[in-house]
């Protein structure tokens, strides 16, 4: 049975971003997951979640990158590719704009406090995902 609330289809698209951020998933794939045309999807997504699907995808990737910087010893370049971004330069620029520090500075300034408090990861993912105030810089599809 189809869900009567259109927002449920938008959540399916957001789930795709959360699940597949490490792949080459883009706004077109998110729109397809919601069963909407790309233009309609971008408007509907922004209306439901308060940001464009492109901004959501980028900030999810940056949030995951921040977690990997805190919790692993992977290099900045490795982390860039692990979260589905194609350009290390754009990644560093986007990261610094959103988090106020370069990835290297961010890693150095964060103790592993999360080791000691069992804050469920879904809450960390929401609270650690910073807003994106300007256009994306990852070299991918344009912001919608």
């Amino acid at each position: 049975m189809a869900h009567p609330e259109p927002e449920r289809h938008l959540l399916r698209a957001r789930d795709l971003a959360d699940t597949r951020y490490a792949d080459q998933v883009d706004v077109g794939a998110m729109a397809a997951a919601a069963g909407l045309s790309r233009a309609h999807f971008s408007r509907a997504f922004a209306g439901a979640f308060g940001e464009s699907p492109g901004a959501y995808l980028l900030t999810r990737r940056l949030e995951r990158a921040a977690a990997l910087l805190r919790n692993t010893d992977h290099s900045v370049a490795e982390i860039c590719f692990e979260v589905g971004l194609a350009s290390v330069g754009s990644f560093t620029t986007s990261f610094k704009r959103v988090y106020g520090q370069t990835p290297t500075e961010y890693r150095a300034s964060h103790p592993t406090a999360a080791t000691w408090a069992m804050v469920p990861s879904c809450l960390i993912q929401e609270y650690a995902r910073r807003g994106n105030r300007t256009i994306r810089e990852d070299g991918g599809a344009p912001t919608e």
């Binding site: 869900h3 938008l10 990861s121 879904c122």
Partner: protein, 149 residues
């Protein structure tokens, strides 16, 4: 001592929710009663078989005038957007349970992933409610006091 007996999530369709929480999640129905004197209100609760003292009520957003139409519409949209809350579940074998759930058609928005406290994953029920499934490392628990720096 005050104990947790029941919590509640809003669902868009109780038959769909009942099927999901029983045949997909493996829980059991505790109560499923339609009450004529309450206008046909259906009280549906489910719970994990290993925890007979804890239940989750699966309720539909009541129609006007119980909730006004605007409030009801807002609530339905919040649930559908996955923003109406979460159930936090634990397991002793996240890999096996994740594979079993996926074999029953559950789509995860986060596959089992390593975190300092263990492995955690997430999926949505058919209505949009977030369900987290974690396998917590020994020494960690949701009731443990954070250690201050």
């Amino acid at each position: 001592m005050i104990s947790l007996a029941m919590t509640q999530v809003w669902v868009h369709d109780q038959d769909v929710a009942k099927d999901f929480y029983t045949t997909k999640l493996g829980w059991e129905v505790r109560q499923d009663a339609v009450i004529p004197e309450l206008g046909g209100f259906r009280f549906l609760t489910v719970g994990p078989p290993a925890q007979p003292d804890i239940a989750v009520a699966l309720l539909v957003v009541p129609p006007a005038p119980i909730f006004d139409e605007e409030t009801g519409a807002q609530l339905k949209a919040l649930v559908a957007k996955g923003q109406a809350g979460s159930l936090f579940l634990t397991t002793d074998d996240i890999q096996a349970d994740c594979e079993a759930l996926k074999a029953r058609g559950v789509q995860f928005y986060e596959e089992p992933t390593e975190y300092p406290y263990g492995r955690d994953s997430g999926f949505h029920d058919p209505s949009g409610n977030s369900i987290r499934l974690a396998q917590v490392k020994p020494g960690f628990s949701s009731t443990r006091e954070p250690v201050s720096a």
